[in-house]
């Protein structure tokens, strides 16, 4: 069985290609041959094209055979367009002939519920040693090798690779690539991904010297963690721009019916993409513009942009968009303003946008752009033309400026010449001289922001897939959950009476005092607490902790204690403690009342929430927010695929909308954000040490002022259901 990478090498750089399918005019096989021929396959040394079909019919100069094995020249790639039922035997035939790779265009497999047929294809390929993309794919393209076994538009050659789960989306990008000028290195529509998938393709493109940016359209991924590893490895070498479709309920349902697999929570994908340093965009237009910008704008440019225009309105719209996407559309310094005023007429605005007015000449564009790029990171040259004006002279000025600043590192110059029908010649001129043109000033500005925002990310903590393996040190020891708690010295007194407490049979939740003790031995800051089964014991516990205290019910049947009146705040003396216990006893009557847990009353802290859950595609996910109404009403929560290091935790903390509350507003102190980041990072590692945990909520966590740390106020731990069966 060939490795993915060597198979992909032969997929993209085949010496011989065979199309499997009818060579009669109008048939799929014929169209593929035609695309191959029109694209110039055969021009390079060793490039031979054949076709195989029952009639051994050839076409367009490709000789016909009735079997691949009958061809007596080396074949690397089979392009399969024969009926679905024939595909397994075709692959066997290919295997015999030493074919390394196949692109299976043929549809009619799992996408229409025909999973068995797809399994047969996969088995035949495996047995024959053939690796493949598809089935149900729109083919592949390698412009550098003149390889076009695809029905989509043949794009111009260049340095952007397009990998699309949807052939139609890939086709849109290729068609626009031709129409609006984006050079493509490689294209793959991987269809049902019965063998090679987005992970293999990303790994291949990471090292592909002909690709400088990768555009990826996905609806779901096969293995979240491995996908993250491949993606992250790729983004450390080159930018990856991603559309993850299925953002909404309707979109997810569509994805499900389209790909047959559930897409997972969109917010988790969002976190995963961010963690891997990929740029997520929302539309095919943005995907397209981002690729164009990454190919033409120096990476690592700053966000200070100048807008140079010859008409006011378009400049205003671009300035608006620039500020909205987080760029700095600041005014030029007095030095630059003076330099501009020295040669521009008085009626030209030398603020930002710099408006040359309709009188703007090519020379003005050139001199203004060169001047502003002395202090701005990037400039956008806008020209909204009318049919009677000559744009070519303006384009020349823009290109001359680009030449003059070509040696300055980290400076970008892009254009927005429009409307396209009127300025077509100028756009071609701009692109030929290396100045990318965008459809509008707003899109040019947004494209610059993609590059300015993009920073390769160092891996957080560890490879994402390795993190799934519990580390050799620590972890569970095989004893009933939470194994490591029982018998730990300083906790012994607190754990008295707890050994008989089961998890809730309904909810699979660990009772609070036991979960709290477990957090303690795992190094999390918990307040002193007491578990009490009787009223006298409860009063004694209150006295030991010192009034005022909080008393909470302990019952496996009552998960949402507050909602049921099971939390009594501000218990201030023995008498109220006694009546509080009685009240909780009444609430718990007939519902497995086990006792109460008592904590000191904590005041003056900011409450926050830390959560852990498992995503079906990405595994453990950690959440952070302020809890309460901030979470329930404003959904002001941020996620990461766990585990995360302190730096990533600090980033999570900063990115919630409520962050100003933690920094200190309206006389409140700044909170202990260092301690919070440390705890959040530690917390994110728990599911790897305790794989039987399904869900943990620390809510609230009391966060004190800087230097004073934090304390877990409440904890809810839910175990996996199948493990419950095992341990009961």
């Amino acid at each position: 069985m060939k490795s993915e990478l060597s198979a992909l090498e032969r997929l993209f750089y085949p010496r011989g290609v065979v199309v499997i399918g009818s060579a009669s005019k109008g048939k799929l096989g014929y169209e593929l041959l035609r695309q191959m021929c029109d694209g110039g396959y055969g021009a390079l040394e060793g490039q031979r094209l054949f076709v195989v079909n029952p009639k051994a019919e050839g076409a367009l100069g490709a000789r016909g055979y009735s079997a691949v094995a009958a061809i007596d020249e080396p074949i690397d790639l089979a392009v399969v367009a024969s009926p679905p039922s024939t595909v397994p035997s075709v692959l066997e035939d290919c295997g015999k002939a030493g074919v390394a790779a196949a692109a299976i265009i043929t549809a009619g497999f799992s996408e229409i519920g025909n999973d068995e047929a797809e399994d047969r294809v996969a088995e035949a390929a495996k047995a024959s040693g053939v690796r493949f993309v598809g089935p149900n794919c729109a083919g592949i393209v390698n412009t550098g090798h003149h390889l076009y076994p695809s029905l989509e538009t043949r794009p111009p050659a260049g340095r952007a690779a397009v990998v699309a789960q949807s052939g139609a989306i890939g086709g849109m990008v290729l068609a626009w690539a031709k129409q609006y000028g984006l050079g493509i290195s490689k294209f793959v529509s991987y269809g049902n991904a019965a063998d090679l998938n987005e992970i293999d393709l990303l790994r291949y493109l990471t090292d592909d010297a002909e690709t400088d940016v990768v555009a990826l359209y996905i609806e779901s991924v096969a293995d979240g963690r491995r996908f993250m590893d491949a993606l992250h490895a790729c983004t450390r070498r080159k930018p990856v721009v991603v559309i993850k479709a299925g953002r909404t309920t309707a979109g997810q349902r569509a994805t499900l019916s389209h790909t047959g697999s559930m897409a997972g929570a969109d917010r988790v994908y969002d976190a995963a993409l961010k963690q891997c340093g990929a740029l997520r965009v929302g539309s095919v237009e943005e995907l397209f513009d981002a690729c164009k910008a990454f190919l033409s704008v120096p990476s690592g440019i700053g966000g200070r942009i100048a807008i140079v225009t010859n008409s006011g309105g378009p400049g205003v719209l671009a300035a608006d968009r620039g500020e909205e996407v987080g760029l700095n559309v600041a005014q030029p310094s007095p030095v630059i303003q003076e330099r501009l005023s020295a040669f521009l007429p008085g009626h030209c605005a030398v603020e930002n946008p710099i408006d040359l007015t309709v009188e703007g000449t090519g020379e003005w564009y050139r001199d203004v752009l060169v001047a502003v790029l002395a202090e701005y990171d990037a400039a956008v040259a806008i020209n909204v033309s009318t049919p009677y004006l000559d744009s070519l002279e303006l384009a020349r000025g823009v290109c001359d400026a680009a030449d003059q600043v070509a040696d300055s590192p980290a400076k970008a110059l892009v254009a927005a010449f429009l409307p396209e029908e009127i300025v077509a010649d100028s756009v071609t001129y701009l692109e030929n001289r290396g100045v990318p043109n965008f459809a509008t000033g707003e899109r040019a500005v947004a494209a610059l922001s993609f590059v300015a925002r993009h920073k390769p990310r160092e891996p957080a903590l560890d490879d994402h897939s390795k993190a799934l393996t519990p580390p050799a040190h620590g972890g569970e020891d095989g004893s009933p959950w939470p194994g490591r708690v029982d018998g730990v010295g300083p906790l012994t007194d607190r754990l008295e009476g707890l050994s008989a407490l089961p998890v809730s049979p309904e909810t699979n939740a660990i009772l609070e005092p036991r979960a709290m003790a477990w957090l303690d031995v795992n190094g999390f800051p918990v307040p002193p607490f007491r578990f009490a089964e009787s009223n006298e014991e409860a009063v004694r516990s209150c006295q030991e902790l010192g009034y005022p205290v909080v008393m909470k019910i302990v019952s496996p049947d009552i998960l949402h204690k507050s909602d049921e009146g099971g939390v009594i705040l501000n218990v201030s003396d023995d008498a109220t403690a006694r009546s509080a216990f009685q009240k909780l006893e009444r609430i718990g009557a007939g519902r497995a009342f086990r006792g109460v847990v008592v904590y000191p009353l904590i005041d003056g802290a900011q409450e926050v929430l830390l959560g852990l859950s498992r995503d079906p595609q990405f595994g453990p996910v950690v959440a952070f927010g302020l809890g309460g109404i901030y979470t329930e009403i404003w959904q002001d929560v941020t996620l990461r695929v766990a585990p995360i290091d302190r730096g990533e935790a600090a980033e999570m903390i900063r990115e919630i909308n409520s962050f100003p509350l933690l920094e200190g507003v309206r006389g409140e102190p700044r909170r202990d954000l260092d301690a919070l980041a440390e705890t959040l990072s530690q917390f994110s590692q728990l599911p790897f040490r305790y794989p039987r945990i399904r869900e943990i909520d620390l809510n609230p966590v009391f966060l004190f002022k800087e230097g004073d740390g934090l304390l877990v106020g409440d904890v809810r731990v839910i175990l996996e259901h199948n493990l419950k069966e095992r341990h009961r």
Copy 2:
């Protein structure tokens, strides 16, 4: 002097047109003549074209004269392209010849700081009885009259009017109109608006029988209230889609330098446009798509949409967008699913999107679209094609479906056939048969949402410009502010000692007890309160109100009482009252300490904020939010141009993000929203009764549970500074 409307009638439907400017090839005057001729002016009866220049040179069949007055045929419209200095005398010449209207293309006036020259143009026009658009404008178009005195692209005829402050933006729309198919009725770029402006044009288009939708691009308006009246009158007849540029700081600076006028706060524009029932969009693409949708989709359609596609990915993206823009992308009912399954193969998804797969035929499109439109309000037919597929047959199916549902009221069918280079013929076919095509599925869906969201609005309370006049009943009586308070019976005891309290000389603020008393006589719910100048008086006041109370400092020098420790909450007995007074006295020492004001302590209420301020362009603006961190951190405040009625107030209350807190969450009661809406509406009328008020903040207002009303907790009233001078 002609009225705007009759002058505009002659501007758009001139019997004779004279171009003023050089008729030499390549000159502006010549280009305008060429556009007029190419556009077919002269074809209708009475249409005569002339040109005036010093040499009396004619061109392109238009006879040349040296003066307008020398032309012995009736002339309605002069198109002026002569040098700036000649324009006043040209207008005088026009006046003598009985020309009613002019379009002044010539630039070089206020847009380059040459205000004086522009004044001379306006004066000459006034003296001569000529009304004009411009100067510095890109001309006008009336497709129905074959009138094209403009340098922009000649668009196809149709029923959308474009009014643009920026000629370049207008030109973009016209170029796209030609390229992507949007029929234009009239176009005006009104440039510097030295005479006719956006208000006049909106008024004219309101009654224009040839216009069904108006697209408006503005950067600033001359008179906010009159603009609102004109806009509101227009939206009650036909949709108006608006780009208001200058949303951000950078954009506003650009606007300022572009139009020479400050744009006003963007959020106030946002409120004003909403109040007038206009649809605000963010980009020229959206402006274009919205016009297209309004012309082809029945107004008042609902938001339930079906997506029919022949490829998965584009369907998913459209479904995502649909849900994001608030449409309902629900699954079909079982009845419809069954009907579809009866003729579609099993592998077609009959959910929503309905994916016909690449096998989808024209008949399938037709039958599926007809079936789903039985229960959906609208359907989008998506076809992402490849070069080798025939889209025309699919387009035919879509159009046949459109014909079949043509008689059903309030059903819409739109298409997204792409990529445009591949499906150009199909798009032409679709548009010719009346099915609008959009650039992508996402844009089609967004366009539908514009129509579904759009509802003509009844006027709120009154005409906006009339509201500026204080009503005959009530209002100020000429006595020193706040005139009507002094001597009012039930307040007399509270006002003791107040007569000597001045407004703050620094801040121009009214002292709190006086402002509170004024609110009381104006019918606002204020709690009982006492003003006390001495410690004994303060203790007595506390006793009268009953402990616990709140005590606040009264000093014209201290505006932000809380920040300076000037508010003492929870004063619980005589002893704490005494020390509270002493503390406040110390804080006020040397800073015009006048005494304290005492209120009962109010607990358990939700705090909200009501604000009033004056916008330079729209006048009084009312604000509503929750105050505190909600306002400071999340800017969760909503605005309206005042005054507003109860319905509009209720809408404001509902639209803040924090609204769930008022409805009752987490065990909190629903608040008295009726009382709040009533108070907010009353509040919004105050600036009209008391024109000397610059600003009022009621913050906090205590809002109680449903039926229990509200109480003003604190008030700050700031007067206009010039009035301060008058009254001191």
